[in-house]
Subunit: 370 residues, 2 copies
């Protein structure tokens, strides 16, 4: 049921189609984050309208609440949340590693305490596969340790050995390979030799896709771009590459140029809920007082539901009086923009003018509109 | 542009059509409350989908934020919030009266302090007309004093004199009568003689519609029903009657039987946000643990977006983890139910079987599902 077909390139930028049991995904793609079985403020049809093709669910959060066994009883995560297109789940690794003070890493796995009630739990490579099998996501992640940044090279190298062993154990534990594709996660920090070691070891295990983890954790952007560019020549051309947790619109365009196919980030949704939206002209702080009497849409050229029907003054008012609809209208706009961004990138690659597109359309995306 | 056409009766229950500049309203009708230019959690198209025909806006809240002058600049409340069907605005009277300690009533009007920043303001009958003219609502309310409950009969009688004087002054101040209909508000507490005095004085002023205020403020339900039943014989048959702030599904059916045409209440929306929804089988506490593994919809017979696509376990999970979508799905269901309720009542009146409908369909509506 899984197949990745590379359709076109422009420089190192790639266009492909990833076939999954819940439908095809046109790459490059941005995946909205639905941590707790909902992309915050959005209904499934809101997601379809902004042209989401695949969303994320979070293994750690769903394991704690409502529990993966309950979701399995509901018929899986798709059925539980009313979303019948593809879903990718992370491994929970990033979340349990972030529970500093509440967790202990051993070769066997990670002991941790729930951030909700302090109860004790353990994630092993086998356990996170069991959880993701129960969730029934189309794309699963191997359990990995994501080292903090900064970390010594020795720490990163040691951690990498554990992560590779966990990848092997997870792959052995995963039986439902026809319906769920398990990706390996390349680690190695900002060190090219460690990244190469990680990628090649995973490639020997032959995963149907490769994630790039351990970036967007605090390193400088040139380091991030250097690593993705470096990995482009190493990772197999015929498998999808997913850069985890990235990023700004500019980051996405730069990493598409470096051969990445898939992205996820809470940035468009979280910023929207706090009153900042993304547009082709830069970031706009929609809750700012300067828009109090601005009766134009967020972006006059945007075709999203928000921009077709509501003006800045109204959305600013909703934020000012703490009305839910403000967060939702802002989220709709920003997700629509992120998904339009990757669609435009895709078109530019198909027409072999990606670099021109990135330098033109992409030039002002990460600036702030004053 | 205004016309009320009485189409059918069944006992005292009435079916009519109220023509407004923004479209016809089929009565009896329930009007969702959109206090601050949004029905909480709902977009305008969500409202259309649940078959809302008219919504409320709140003069006091909109005067304070974003301000009626700003809404006027935006082209009026319809344009500001993206809702092109009818809007009814209250007079702000109920809100400023509720600011106990922050307000002082004089024959001229009410001095009050903003609940937001403590700033000083004054509402007069003329001022609230000016505000509602700026908002551009289809149906406006006269400024009235809504006496607290309980109050002495002397207090209610004195207050009534002020309210009648304010109704006269407001009517004189209202010039935009072709586009905005100003209703008079019948007061008089639970005293039939005062209610009669109030209604007849207002009828001499000849308003295009009559509101029944000062009920659902703490009195016993039999008193509420007695007063609406009493007013049925007094109020003109050819004008719409609006019972303010009512109520439960059972209250609505009982008051339709007493000849009321229009209702508003925060109950379906507020309760939904707190995790309780209304169904034809009674109230259901959707956030309750007992629904943790209940994979059936809120109401299998309901055709709303929520019931067609989501199950109780999922909605309960959303409430359990404080996700916005839970409040929205519950709101969609309960508003759909309230609007289906008045549609079914309308059909029963047209078929002259209203009493049977009320005693059958209506029997369990105000109970709680255990």
């Amino acid at each position: 049921m899984f197949e990745f077909k590379l359709e076109a390139t422009s420089g190192n930028a790639r266009v492909g189609i990833l076939k999954t049991p819940h439908g095809d995904i046109q790459t490059p793609i941005f995946m909205p984050v639905g941590t707790r079985a909902t992309v915050k403020t959005m209904s499934p049809r809101d997601l379809l309208e902004v042209k989401a093709q695949i969303i994320l669910g979070n293994t750690y959060h769903l394991y704690l609440r409502p529990g993966h066994e309950l979701i399995k009883k509901a018929g899986g995560l798709h059925h539980f949340m009313g979303w019948d297109k593809p879903i990718l789940t992370d491994s929970g690794g990033f979340q349990v590693m972030s529970l500093s003070g509440l967790r202990k890493i051993t070769p066997e796995g990670v002991h941790f305490q729930s951030h909700i009630d302090g109860s004790y739990h353990m994630f092993t490579p086998e356990k996170v596969i069991e959880i993701q099998n129960a969730l029934g996501s189309d794309i699963m992640m191997s359990f990995d340790e994501c080292p903090p940044y900064p970390a010594t090279k020795e720490y990163v190298a040691d951690s990498l050995k554990t992560t590779l062993d966990w990848a092997r154990r997870g792959k052995e534990a995963h039986k439902n390979t026809k319906k769920q594709a398990l990706f390996g996660i390349v680690q190695g920090g900002i060190h090219e030799d460690l990244r190469e070691e990680s990628a090649k070891a995973l490639m020997r295990m032959d995963f149907p896709g490769y994630s790039i983890g351990g970036l967007a954790v605090g390193e400088n952007k040139p380091d991030m771009y250097r690593i993705t560019n470096f990995l482009h020549d190493i990772l197999p051309k015929d498998k999808p590459r997913y850069l985890m947790g990235v990023g700004t619109p500019g980051d996405i365009l730069q990493n598409i140029e470096n051969g990445v196919d898939m992205f996820d980030c809470v940035m468009p949704t979280r910023n929207a809920r706090k009153g900042t939206v993304f547009t082709r002209h830069g970031k706009l702080i929609i809750k700012a007082a300067r828009y109090k009497e601005d009766f134009s849409p967020i972006d006059a050229d945007c075709q999203c539901y928000t921009c077709r029907n509501f003006n800045r003054a109204y959305i600013r008012h909703l934020f000012n009086v703490d009305e839910f609809l403000g967060m939702r209208l802002a989220t709709i706009h920003s997700l629509h923009f992120y998904l339009e961004l990757v669609t435009l990138a895709r078109q530019a690659i198909l027409e072999d003018r990606y670099n021109e597109f990135k330098n033109g359309f992409g030039a002002k995306l990460d600036t702030r509109i004053e």
